[in-house]
Homo-oligomer: 500 residues x 2
């Protein structure tokens, strides 16, 4: 452990007082951290910023021995968990065929990390494909090769809501992620260099098309029993059915939407901008350098706010301060602040910054409206044609060289036209059994967005299907967007029932 | 105007292509902006980041000729408004007496900028004190010395909701602000250096005590007719009555609260942390240097999200992109993103970064609960005693040298105890006429916080007073927290009626 004393309070401190720091590699020689004037003959003393000291110290540690391909040994005994977005115990599907994307761009080959639970039956008709949220790995549940609890540990299992006695459950790390699937932190076979921000923009529909290759190639299965997921997983769940309406029996979308709405886009926008403003992000080329841990920490803090709800925190933190015997500070001070600080710190080296940007952007771009999907299909086909005609992919459109200026003409779609566009898009899955789950306390995916999916599908007449809507009120859950992780017993039975 | 072309899309760009840049001071020689690898023989082209180019360019411009005491001339013809948090046309009250603060610390002397409208009557009983939100100046309305429209231009005036034919309206720039009142960007008479982060932590109650000195010293008035404000102004409005219950007749608190709640604290926390993480913030000592314009921009973008509502943006922006002919980008892309980007850019040099931190923190600390106010009073008195006994103010508690660790013991206050504590605190103003206005679409100050003020006051029996609660539903306003600026006609009549 690093014992950290930081700035002294004496009037004449000239430099940091550091107690003994033990690292596994080397002892750090500390220079005065900032250029702050150290004179202190004013009316009041200089405020200290231990939270910044800590960040700067972390940067120093990372600059000494960061190695993104392995572990950062120097941090193992330090204040942080090791740099560990390399997970273990998953299988890998490798496609040697290229995959082409909705907005141009392609990958010459790619890998998808996946884990499975239960057994594929003889009829090969019992697959449930579980889709993850933004930053989750394929490790939805513990298994022999990785016994750590998964992110939906109690939702999946023998006799559980996703019953492994009955179903063969598959969960993948999404394309663009960093837990074993090809993403910006992977190397491009074309030049053996990290993709970084040469990785193409991807969409949720692109992700599910990669998953489908895995299902077909690895298991020889042409139809899955169900597609289920929450948050971005709820988007993927719908997208899988949209891309392959004849290859999925039942669709469950929890705390998701049929198209991302501007407020959710705004909330993700600030996370991306904060991250991209970290000088260490270096326009996506930080591999083998200091990762943008400060930008990641801040982005995660913002994200954490969007995952929970006011009433939960009111009850959990109230106005309690972390340490009521101390004076107020600009560094984390109230209990809710130290909580956010810890949440950010825990995440900042656990996930790849570029993956966060690309997957977050994919969420913004999610829109099953007819016009959007038609345009995407056209672009994808054109990239594919160019590729197979052996002309280089021009993709000039995917490299915007100038800030976008608002074109007033692009804002003329009315809400009514927009809704009709969505209805036209959802026609494609209107014959499917679809269950939509919404949570009233969710701020990031407000419940009206789940109601929208249900309402639009309901408005398309079809007598054959089974259409269900299930909503958790604030009397049931105040966990907001994170309800799907924290209150599984409140929607699990309905899910189990729907799966049949 | 600066014409900006940014990174070219050609495969071999080696440096930025800049078109002619005209500055009033000097032409900038541009170096390659990042250390990004420029090889581009991968499967896909390198993405461009015009939004970062723009920020880096701005930093370069500011580093050339920033002078916080005047204008940044080089920006006058540039893409930004001039660095203008020096307002004009206000009067200044100067107190030569020291002011002592709730959490220790003091100012040996201070100034309060203010503006007035209407006439003080012979009885000196027609003053309405208007309190501002976080970043507003005293310029609530145009007047002869500053004819620009004020932030409540149409709310105040002859025959308007705050009727200048009847009332003498005063609005101040809060202590800690940067529009003429003493704040962190002021110089400390003790050493003639900027206060920076040697400025003491202040509270909303500290702010109103400074305002009261102005009211008494400048106008010789011992009782004001009304205290009114929205957002932080709604806090001040209550705080003024709390500090001086016999010196105010009527209290109007719009979109405010009686104590800041953890979700609001969390939302402000991220803004402060983002700002403090900008290396140019330099722990508060950026005066005469490059101001933390990137941190300010990002903080304002986050703030802007909290000021509005999802449904408003749904209607206003929908999923429209800024320029639908272009490909998706990680830089601002959707219309809501370019909107946020502009909002941040507009603000980033208009307000002082340290003022933002201190005033934002003052909002977090706002709590009229009995225990909190008693503790504050004790600390203040102790600082005052130390000062007048000619011992230096120790204030060791105001300089936290180490990150706060959560003390589990501090989290034991139950919601019920906490509510009783608030009730005990509000006893002090339970005999006053109080009007509370809430807005259902407000995310930053959710309507249950205004209901809380009303409910707690209502629970304290008193037959003499006039207690009113007025709520604007989502059918009336979807402007969220900004409703007090944008939908004045929906609550103005009720306010006018209440004022009598």
């Amino acid at each position: 452990m690093i014992a950290w004393k930081g700035l002294g309070t004496s009037k004449n401190f000239k430099m940091l007082k550091l107690s003994t720091i033990k690292f596994s590699t080397a002892r750090i020689t500390h220079k005065p951290i900032s250029t702050t004037k150290i004179t202190n003959n004013g009316s009041n003393p200089q405020m200290a910023f231990p939270c910044l000291d800590k960040l700067e110290q972390k940067t120093q540690v990372l600059s000494g021995s960061c190695n993104i391909e392995g572990n950062v040994n120097s941090l193992e005994n330090g204040p942080e968990p090791s740099y560990s977005f390399v997970q273990t115990g998953f299988k890998t599907y490798k496609s040697h065929k290229p995959i082409f994307f909705d907005h141009g761009g392609y990958l010459p080959e790619y890998e998808i990390a996946y884990e499975t639970w239960g057994q594929l039956n003889a009829e090969k008709d019992n697959i449930i494909l579980v889709h993850t949220g933004l930053s989750a790995s394929s490790h939805a549940k513990s298994q022999v090769d990785n016994e750590k609890p998964g992110w939906w540990e109690k939702f999946i299992g023998s006799g559980k809501y996703l019953d492994t006695d009955k179903y063969f459950i598959i969960c993948t790390n999404v394309l663009g992620g960093c837990y074993g699937s090809t993403g910006p932190s992977s190397k491009d076979p074309a030049n053996n260099d990290y993709y970084g921000t040469r990785f193409p923009i991807i969409t949720v529909n692109d992700m599910v098309r990669a998953q489908r290759e895995l299902i077909r190639d690895e298991f020889g299965v042409s139809k899955i029993h169900a597609s289920i997921g929450a948050s971005m997983g709820g988007m993927q769940s719908l997208a899988y059915a949209w891309e392959f309406p004849d290859e999925v029996e039942k669709v469950i979308s929890i705390s998701g939407c049929a198209r991302s709405h501007p407020y959710s886009i705004a909330l993700r926008h600030t996370q991306r901008q904060v991250l991209m403003s970290d000088p260490n992000w270096n326009r996506g080329f930080y591999y083998d350098k200091i990762p943008p841990h400060i930008g990641m920490k801040l982005a995660r803090e913002i994200a954490t706010i969007t995952y929970r709800s006011g009433p939960e925190w009111e009850y959990r933190f109230g106005r309690n301060r972390a340490d009521d015997s101390k004076s107020p500070a600009l560094c984390p001070d109230f209990l809710v602040e130290t909580y956010l600080d810890h949440a950010g710190e825990k995440f900042c080296l656990e996930y790849d910054a570029n993956s966060l940007l690309y997957v977050s952007k994919a969420m913004d771009l999610f829109d099953l409206s007819s016009s959007n999907r038609e345009k995407a299909l056209k672009t994808r086909k054109s990239t594919e044609d160019e590729f197979f005609n052996h002309t280089p992919t021009s993709q000039s459109t995917s490299v915007p060289p100038e800030p976008y200026q608002e074109k007033k003409t692009s804002a003329t779609v009315t809400p009514e036209e927009s809704l009709q566009d969505l209805k036209n898009g959802l026609e494609k899955i209107a014959h499917k059994d679809v269950m939509v789950v919404g949570v009233e306390s969710d701020i990031l995916f407000p419940v009206w967005q789940q109601r929208e999916i249900f309402d639009v599908l309901s408005s398309i007449e079809n007598k054959e299907r089974n259409l269900k809507y299930f909503e958790l009120g604030t009397d049931i859950s105040n966990y907001g967007h994170d309800t799907f992780l924290l209150s599984i017993d409140h929607f699990g039975p309905a899910v189990k029932d729907f799966l049949g």
